[in-house]
């Protein structure tokens, strides 16, 4: 089926929010990497042997913040998509009624997510690089940092862009799960029996979110403990923190 036709029919509401969030996450990631690179160059000064050690330490910090940014943007996008779908239930039901499959309807939403992710990430990256150039210029001008020949265009900058595209696409796919629950009967305005999803209490999800929550707490505790010995303990804490939030979101309907 032509995805464009469905997309045109179901509209593009919610694109703005997702685009902005993807662009922000991407810009944030790019600026963070640029800052890391500049800081590493400044701290190690002219002693190039120091450069890689400083870089790796700063990279951990940058990685942490980028993960958090991407994570938050993915959650926002998932919820935006789910909300938009809730508002378009009638149109989706009508398309289903006339003979569009649930899969086609969902793919149209996910494809839109991929496009928005791509546009947002590239836009954000461009803004991020511009900001970095301007920032470094200003820092020069005010003699805040010495002129050490900074490399502001690195292949590494593609990393946050790729991550944001993938996470937005993924988030749109997860958020579009709701499309599958729309029944064509919703378009005829008839009284309906409760759908299976509404009437069951979704025990699998409940168990899953409890497990996720417990794992999250364990990782957080582990992060604190390992953190006494090595700075990489913070990574454990990050995993713990990330797994607790979806546990809260998914389990909210207990």
């Amino acid at each position: 089926m032509s995805g464009s036709e469905t997309a045109r029919a179901t509209g593009h509401a919610g694109r703005g929010a997702s685009l902005l969030v993807a662009a922000l996450a991407s810009a944030f990631g790019v600026v963070l990497l640029e800052t890391t690179s500049v800081l590493a160059t400044v701290v190690s000064g002219n002693d190039l042997s120091q450069l890689s050690a400083v870089r790796s330490a700063l990279s951990i910090v940058a990685f942490l913040f980028i993960t958090i940014a991407v994570y938050v943007s993915a959650i926002v996008t998932t919820n935006t998509v789910a909300t938009v779908i809730a508002g378009r239930t009638r149109t989706i039901a009508l398309m289903r009624l006339i003979g569009s499959s649930a899969g086609d309807q969902r793919r149209a939403v996910a494809l839109d997510g991929l496009k928005v992710g791509l546009a947002g990430a590239v836009l954000g990256a461009v803004v991020g690089i511009l900001l970095s150039f301007v920032g470094v210029r200003i820092a020069f001008g005010t003699a805040l940092i010495p002129d050490l020949g900074y490399h502001l265009l690195e292949p590494l900058l593609a990393l946050p862009v790729v991550i944001v595209v993938l996470s937005t696409w993924c988030a749109a796919w997860v958020g579009s799960r709701r499309v599958l629950a729309v029944s064509p009967m919703q378009a005829v305005g008839a009284a309906e029996e409760r759908s299976l999803e509404e009437s069951t209490r979704r025990p699998v999800r409940t168990v899953f979110s409890i497990v996720l929550m417990a794992t999250g707490v364990l990782f957080l505790a582990g992060g604190v403990w390992v953190g006494q010995v090595t700075e990489y303990g913070v990574l454990l804490g990050l995993v713990g923190g990330c797994s607790r939030s979806p546990a809260l979101c998914w389990g909210r309907t207990w």
């Binding site: 089926m1 045109r8 029919a9 149109t91 398309m95 009624l97 006339i98 649930a102 009967m185």
Partner: protein
Amino acid sequence: MEITSAELGLAARVTNLCKNYGSATTSVAALDDVSIGIGRGQFTAIMGPSGSGKSTLMHIMAGLDEASSGRVWLGETEITGLGDSELTVLRRRRIGFIFQSFNLVPTLDVRGNITLPFALDGRRPDAAEKDWIDQLTDSLGLGDRLMHRPHELSGGQQQRVAIARALATRPELVFADEPTGNLDSRSGREVLTLLKAASTGYGQSIAMVTHDPIAASFADRILFLADGRVVEDRERSTAEEISGIMLGMEQRA
């Protein structure tokens, strides 16, 4: 050997259809052992007071709802127990829908709405289908409205677009659910005349659910439902006769 729908000259039929809502203790029977056939090329009206089960019957025949027991055929295909994806393709290619609330896609123009069933099928109308669509839009008086959006049209015009959409794929059976319910009496009569013309002119099979005796008087055959059962089966009747039957049903109830 089972009797086929074609031998009976039927576009669709149901046998021993029952539909219960609610759980065992609070069960309500919306349909109670209904067996009917919709004649090919005929304009059939399904009448009954609200709550008589006429909409439920239509939904089950169109593959939108599942029966509690009984069997359903569309043409030669038994659709009882078909999965969602098969029913989706069936609705797309073999059934047309006309609703009380028009149900046009607001973001598509008239042409987009009429060709939507083809777009959902992942193809463009071929030359013969294009001719047919042109013929339809002309006879429905939509020729100069093709670039308009639904909100720019009157109720009667919107319903005519919906009729064009339902007829565009030349489906085996068109279901019309209270097609005049949202229209003033003049545009309502216009829409009914068009449905009647589609049936006599192109041999289109139509099943119309309604509780309006005037709408039913346009049909070739009228089935009366009350409390989930078929209580009368009449050939073409006048609005007065239909009203009389309806009143009689009310008084007996």
